[in-house]
Symmetry: C2
Subunit: 179 residues, 2 copies
């Protein structure tokens, strides 16, 4: 960020009085511009034991597979965000069930919140951000073509928990991938 | 927001092409300024059965009691945020345990994430944002002087769950208080 949202003057990156972290501060009007982590809300939509996945039509990871998920918007609940993303990306209506996993991803300032979900019917199709959508048995999941480690971890855990029919809310943290 | 953070031109509030919600869009450089909900991370710090509370020295709800909680920062995990807030507001070191409650508060664009926590020792004191701090037995909680409904609901549930020694992660939504 270069300019103040309130008065258009240049901002400086410095620690404000009484604060402990550097912020974008307007030296003209004094406005402090805070930046905070974003919530990515998603779900694992199930239909007759199969999982609904979307193949991404957008960057990052264009062409790879994911569960429906995206940035939560102002004015909605996390559950509503997860259902909305499923509608937008896979044209599918879901019933959102329990909160299944929370993943900190601090190096990109994101917190994933992933729910268990049930498709309301077998209707689905690629939304504008998806190339294709499909229902996958566990053995059919395209593990080598998944978009994000957080999705792989969530699905692996989900299939494991499903064998025991026990889905405790998981809290984890993902580190950057070393290349 | 009035001006673009990238080029200082005035912004317009309109729905960008391909989007469904109004955003602050810069008509000069095309930058879209998204605004998203913030996470408030907090904990219920326990010491020998008592709960550590803080009396607020800042608005809103100056002078009323709360659990340690505040806005999560970029670069940290939710657990780290909850521990940091406890240090800042109550000068206390905590061990953060399980995720206890998630509360949507959509009318203020916040998601509270509250953890169970244990004080590491009996040391605590008011931080710069607190007037006083103290350990309270359940019967001593100043219910009529609590700062926020989300804190009241979390503590009521906590004491109830504690009787059964069973603390499932709770997911709820708070509506605006009708006055």
């Amino acid at each position: 960020m270069k300019f103040c949202t309130q008065c258009a003057s240049p901002v400086a990156l410095r620690v404000p009085d009484g604060d402990t972290m550097a912020r974008h501060v307007c030296e003209a009007c004094g406005e402090i511009h805070y930046q905070n982590p974003k919530i990515v809300a998603g779900c694992i939509p199930e239909w007759e034991g199969k999982i609904l996945l979307c193949r991404r039509a957008i960057e990052p990871r264009n062409g790879l597979w994911t569960i429906p998920a995206g940035f939560m918007e102002n004015g909605e609940t996390v559950e509503q965000a997860a259902a909305r993303e499923t509608w937008e990306e896979a044209c599918a209506h879901v019933e959102i069930n329990g909160l299944y996993a929370v993943f900190n991803i601090p190096h990109v300032n994101q917190v994933y919140m992933i729910f268990r979900a049930a498709l309301k019917d077998e209707t689905f199709a690629p939304g504008i951000e998806s190339l294709e959508t499909g229902l996958f048995e566990e053995a059919e999941i395209p593990w080598s073509q998944m978009a994000f480690p957080v999705v792989v971890q969530s699905l692996e855990r989900y299939f494991s928990d499903r064998q025991r029919d026990h889905f405790p809310t998981f809290l984890g943290t993902l580190e950057p991938i070393k290349r």
